[in-house]
Point group: C2
Chain length 263, copies 2
Amino acid sequence: MEFLNVSERAAISPEIAVSTVIFSLRRAPGAADDTPPRLWIPLVRRTRQPYRGQWALPGGPLGAQQSLAAAAAENLRTTTGLVPRYLEQLYAFGGLDRSPARRVVSIVYWALVRGADSNDDGPDAGAPHSELIEDPNVAWFPVDSDEVRAQLAFDHVEIVEYALWRLRNKVTYGKVAHRLLGDRFTLAQVREVYEVVLGTRLDPANFRRQLLSSPGLAETGEHLHGVKHRPPKLYRFEDPVDTPPSPAAHGAATASLQEGSLT
Amino acid sequence: MEFLNVSERAAISPEIAVSTVIFSLRRAPGAADDTPPRLWIPLVRRTRQPYRGQWALPGGPLGAQQSLAAAAAENLRTTTGLVPRYLEQLYAFGGLDRSPARRVVSIVYWALVRGADSNDDGPDAGAPHSELIEDPNVAWFPVDSDEVRAQLAFDHVEIVEYALWRLRNKVTYGKVAHRLLGDRFTLAQVREVYEVVLGTRLDPANFRRQLLSSPGLAETGEHLHGVKHRPPKLYRFEDPVDTPPSPAAHGAATASLQEGSLT
DNA sequence: CAAATAGTGTCTGTCAGACACTATAGT
DNA sequence: ACTATAGTGTCTGACAGACACTATTTG
């Protein structure tokens, strides 16, 4: 029987970890309703060296009987208590100097969950705000906050940057914006998602036309009331039928999740 | 000191392997010049179980001091003797049942190398044809051949399928077509690449206009002679200046390679 | 000159962006 | 009635696709 000590094992094959960048759209607690929401991500404070005490992306070593996407969904559930509305593999980071300790190859996923102020209620009715999470070592931060932009452990700043780039890309060419919202949404809410993610203002009339022409969008027949102007229609997205060739079969966390879809 | 036997080690962390899908554009050996070229990939015959004797993507376990892209470039060099003209991470495949033996997580790259009939000569003047490779366990196959579509080991059929999807995508939205050609090329050659990759016919006039408007394309002042019609101009691509946010810093095999660029 | 492809000119339908205008709720 | 946003109509410039036409080489 072959035996290996820890350093020999490390020399043969690096450790595999899975981390997840989880985006949600929300306003700062107590902020007025007319302030635009921002993108937030949950972080976990490290309790061990290296980078002890600093914030890092949720993640951990890959379990022996755990598919990659299942590990990512597990990160999501334990840090946010939520089920992802979108989950896609981002990239495998495998540089030699990512960690000052032993070498780790991180397979990173990115996910979208709905915000706390969606139009729906239900078992996954939005991510709770930070003060509602019991664990003091888990907290949400805006992606453009100092904690995220400069304080993260390892190479996680770069990872978040790349995840943001991918999100902007997907929102431009694809149709993932509504996954940050509830099941029922107004077109203005979708437009607000685009505006926050892309950082630009969009013409309401043209945006409406473009979105209405996309297949899968359906009226619910309901309207959103309580606003001090004409009540907008509520829409929903029927799941698109055609999925382009994609490695979705490998390790899909949930049957309803399509990974890598560009549509 | 901690000791682990082999099965315990496998239970803790799956093995990491790196494989590469290497595309080249070429005609069948001996084919006439006016037959359209096809996409070919090199395969390696497995000499060990599982799948002994079957063809598989070039690859192997990740070396302890080897970055991911470096491992992919190494696959490329040992199977084709070439330096990649494009190299990008494709996906990390980590399903539980990918191999009947111990669990392996494969980080797959895809690459473009130039074909044997480019307009240039030089140290990497095109991939040699299969008969020129010494190793009888390495051979090139068209991507739409039976060997590729149905005979590959592991889940490599699915991987090649996904790499093809990505190539078509990149060729549509990006500008990687010329990486299958030499440094100097005619616009008709680029159009032929598009036609082969996308499987459609393209209008020469409109394609020319579109390509001419892309930044970075420059005339060489030379013409391609020896054709029995008006000699076309030879162009080249100056490397684009702006690189979008991408994880290129991690494990880039060559400084001149931009990973993940969509431009 | 014939053949073949290089390369140019031009028309047309589609679509994104700009923006004026009407509709309908709350206050 | 006023305000704010929902939602419609319409114009324009850019551009992709279709296709006629000219240019220039080989044989």
